[in-house]
């Protein structure tokens, strides 16, 4: 029987799925013989969307993307993808793509198309004028956890070494800064110790503040598989004020009032000590207890936990929490052969985000659930390159590439020397963190700002306040992006950029893994890779300011072709000169190595030979991490060589429970929390343009607990107003046993003015990490009307 092309593709699809679960299908041989006629070339890279770093192969036909499949040999996803990961490539051919530079002198005018020469001249002149008149700190760069590492690295190099400002920030400040703060203060080193593969060896999985079923579906699949394949021996605990699709696989759902998890986590530590479930040897070998600035002993720490007996904590937590439940969770956690904690924005986006991170890390240190297969304290990342580009590449105001602190002169000098620029060129003072940066924009202190690949006009908390600054006529704003966004609407100059697979570069995902995505298609119109844009801008900037040091910042890259040679040279400089010997050592992860890997390389990986094995699966364990061996100060199996703890110990922190910055009261009686929905990503500038994703969730809605809904007379689909001290929105209600009573939960992706929830959210931030408390504020909830026909909206 002759197989039609369509039959062939269907059988290929079936075989692809069957191969992942080890099923043999009868037509396997026949299809293999038919050959891969559905695409004439498959190119391996990473998914463009979330922080998991799933590996994909893009199928090209006649140079156009026509198909996509997961990479079965990749350790990040073993071939699985989620629906948005499958569809991201559809934005490549989208008619809305920006194709020409657009400019307007005044923000009141319409944009006009201009040439690249003119555009780069304008950008250079405006930044140069600001520096001449007001100093380097009147300029700023605000980047993204979606920019390639090469892009973030080059931008920050020109800003710091060229314009002499540390006003280098990025949207990861809004999502993972508290995890950074937590890792640094608990373990002395940023980023998780282990990786995804711990899930397959774990016996207890503690999920807190993460709806991974929707936000990280492919990782959730691994967790689900671990549980379903070991129903009786693996325990899953889900702790969250909201019951979500993630709860489906949980043995226990701990539902508490928003923000009270600090008390709950302290109570788990209390049980671990009271019932002697801690690992005495691990603690005495590797840990110390800290209370404020003091080092204390375990008795003092335990006495400070006295306010958090399980029974007392249960009263603070409310919801379904009981003392027995906390005891049970602590026992499962401590006694399992391997416990992995997973968390995300529910923990990080908090006024006490660093503390919440510390309290999770505490449980792992107390029980020794670290540095062994199946055990880890694992923060999930939202963006594909928040770890690689921004945390490691120097994309925040206080850090330089290679996990170096700006404030340390020796470390600044190392960077200056690597760049061949005069010592003292990088200013010693860290720049503005994100919220301070946009406050400075509001106040007119920043005169020229470059926003790359992100949309703060939608993603900042209390966003209306900060949109006023961005709209100021005396603030010159450049945006580099692939689509119009609410932020480009406030810009003077919009520069069109190449998208994923239209340029080459590296993303570093959640598990310290760097993976390359090569260019295989041309960008539309006159769009360029960001690295080309920065280099050409910097050359003009050097001329405007008559400053050879700026020229020097990009001189090593002059004349290189932008699709491959240029990013490769930037990656080489960054990895060979600035990560060598650091805890994030990527010296062995050359393009040559990364191109050979199905997935990528987990740092530290100091040699190519080692990098080719995939790198370091578990940091600090001598058995797995050569750097632990080379930094060994004694014969113990674990060596905590992180740069932030001079004593090379793990720190168990005494941290009291503190509520949210804004708790409900008589006037604003409900907690509001916000989050993601499956298939939409961030501000929907991409997923909102993929019709099948948009149609599934065309607008935000608010989840209301059925008992609250009944009290307020709210029926499913009714229009509901949410009002805070900052702003109001209206959106349809979904009446669901999701949020705890007294709390509503709204999806944050919607761009429509009436439904943009960040107008309502509070801009209070963590004093340590400076990450805003997106997850908790107080609102009034009011039924407006019955269901209303709504119009979806993207700019």
């Amino acid at each position: 029987m002759v197989m039609t092309r369509r039959d062939f593709i269907k059988k290929t699809a079936a075989l692809s799925a069957a191969s992942f679960v080890g099923l043999n299908l009868p037509f396997a041989k026949h299809v293999d013989q038919a050959g891969a006629t559905d695409a004439d070339k498959w190119v391996r890279g990473s998914c463009r969307l979330c922080g998991l770093g799933c590996r994909v192969e893009l199928g090209l036909k006649g140079g156009k993307p026509v198909a996509i499949r997961g990479v079965a040999k990749s350790r990040t996803n073993f071939g699985y993808l989620c629906m948005k990961g499958m569809l991201f490539y559809k934005v490549m051919e989208h008619p809305d793509r920006l194709k020409m530079p657009l400019y307007r002198e005044s923000k009141k005018d319409a944009f006009r198309e201009i040439s690249w020469d003119e555009a780069l001249d304008i950008a250079a002149k405006k930044f140069a004028d600001a520096k001449k008149e007001f100093g380097g700190d009147s300029t700023a760069y605000y980047g993204s956890g979606q920019a390639l590492t090469e892009e973030t690295y080059l931008f920050q190099k020109v800003m710091r070494g060229g314009l002499q400002t540390n006003n280098v920030e990025g949207n990861p400040r809004l999502c993972m800064a508290s995890a950074v703060g937590g890792y640094l203060t608990s373990f002395g080193a940023d980023e998780p110790i282990g990786g995804y593969s711990n899930i397959e060896k774990s016996s207890c999985i503690f999920i807190i503040g993460s709806n991974m079923a929707e936000a990280h579906p492919v990782f959730f699949r691994r967790v689900m598989r671990r549980k379903m394949d070991n129903k009786d021996t693996v325990k899953v605990i889900n702790a969250d004020p909201r019951v979500s699709p993630t709860s489906r696989i949980a043995d226990m759902h701990m539902q508490f009032r928003p923000g009270t998890d600090l008390a709950m986590l302290n109570a788990m530590a209390y049980v671990i000590i009271e019932e002697k479930l801690f690992d005495k040897k691990f603690i005495s070998d590797y840990a110390v207890f800290k209370s404020g600035k003091n080092t204390v002993d375990m008795d003092t720490y335990f006495a400070e936990l006295g306010d958090y007996t399980p029974e007392k904590a249960a009263v603070i937590c409310g919801g379904n929490i009981t003392g027995d439940m906390i005891r049970k969770a602590a026992r499962w956690f401590a006694k399992s052969n391997g416990t992995v904690s997973c968390w995300c924005m529910g923990i990080n986006q908090r006024k006490r985000g660093v503390w919440a991170n510390n309290l999770i890390n505490n449980l792992h240190i107390l029980t020794g659930q670290l540095c062994k297969p199946g055990a880890d304290s694992f923060s999930l990342t939202g963006q594909p390159n928040a770890c690689g580009g921004v945390r490691e590449g120097g994309g925040l105001c206080h850090i330089l590439p290679g996990h170096r602190l700006v404030k340390k002169e020796k470390l600044r000098n190392q960077v200056e020397s690597a760049w061949g620029i005069p010592a003292g060129r990088i200013p010693p003072k860290p720049g503005y963190h994100t919220m301070a940066m946009f406050k400075a924009v509001n106040e007119g202190k920043i005169k020229a700002i470059w926003i790359n690949c992100t949309s703060p006009a939608q993603s900042l908390p209390n966003v209306d306040l900060y949109r006023k600054g961005m709209a100021r006529e005396d603030v010159f704003m450049v945006c580099t992006d692939i689509f119009p966004t609410l932020t480009t609407e406030l810009a003077n100059l919009i520069l069109p950029t190449a998208f994923h697979f239209e340029k080459t570069g590296v993303y570093g995902c959640t598990e310290r893994r760097s993976q390359i995505t090569p260019k295989c298609c041309d960008a539309p119109g006159e769009a360029h890779a960001e690295v080309w844009i920065v280099r050409e801008w910097a050359k003009r900037l050097a001329r405007e300011l008559n400053d050879p040091v700026i020229e020097q910042c990009v001189a090593p890259f002059d004349g290189l072709e932008e699709g491959y040679d240029l990013p490769k040279a930037i990656w080489d400089e960054y990895t060979q000169k600035l990560t060598k010997g650091r805890d994030s050592d990527l010296t062995g992860a050359t393009y040559g190595v990364l191109e050979q890997m199905h997935d990528g390389v987990q740092w530290p990986a100091a040699t190519e030979e080692y990098a080719l094995t995939g790198g370091t699966v578990i940091k600090f364990a001598r058995e797995y991490d050569p750097m632990a061996e080379s930094h060994a100060k004694d014969d113990k199996p674990f060596q905590f060589y992180g740069p932030a703890h001079p004593d090379k110990k793990l720190w168990i922190w005494s941290r009291p429970y503190k509520g949210a910055d804004e708790e409900p009261d008589a006037e604003y009686p409900f907690y509001l929390s916000t989050g993601r929905i499956i298939d939409h990503w961030h501000t929907t500038s991409m997923t909102g343009r993929i019709p099948e994703l948009l149609r599934a969730n065309p607008y935000s809605f608010v989840e209301v607990n059925p008992r609250d809904a009944e009290r307020m007379g709210i029926k499913p689909g009714d229009m509901v107003e949410l009002e805070s001290r900052r702003g109001r929105v209206e959106m349809p209600a979904k009446v669901v046993e999701g949020p705890i009573e007294g709390m509503v939960f709204a999806y944050w992706h919607d761009m429509h003015e009436d439904r943009m929830i960040n107008k309502v959210v509070k801009d209070a931030f963590d004093p340590g990490s400076k990450e805003p408390e997106f997850k908790i504020c107080a609102v009034k909830v009011r039924r407006l009307s019955g269901p209303k026909r709504l119009t979806p909206y993207v700019v």
């Binding site: 699809a13 198909a67 657009l102 609407e489 099948e692 993207v794």
Partner: protein, 100 residues
Amino acid sequence: MPIGGFVISVDPDIREEIVTMLSEMEGVEVHGSDAKGNIVAVIDTETSEVMDDLVHGLQKDPQILSVGLTYLNAEDEIEKIVSGELRPEIPFGRKKKNRP
């Protein structure tokens, strides 16, 4: 006309029931399942929209634990988009005021 390869995972105890349910759905072909509750299915629909509706219906079903994709071919659709025959339908007007 996109075609996708899926692994749909359910509790093994209800695997047969879900296989029957899936087999009766238009556009879904079940190619096999295993004792762990993994069901291999191909979804073949007229448009990506229909496929996405179908997948969303599955994701919302509390009995279905995970819907994993392994392969998607949308060649026909993309050819039409590239040739201009099909413009991705975004059912709302975009802001024109600041555009050239």
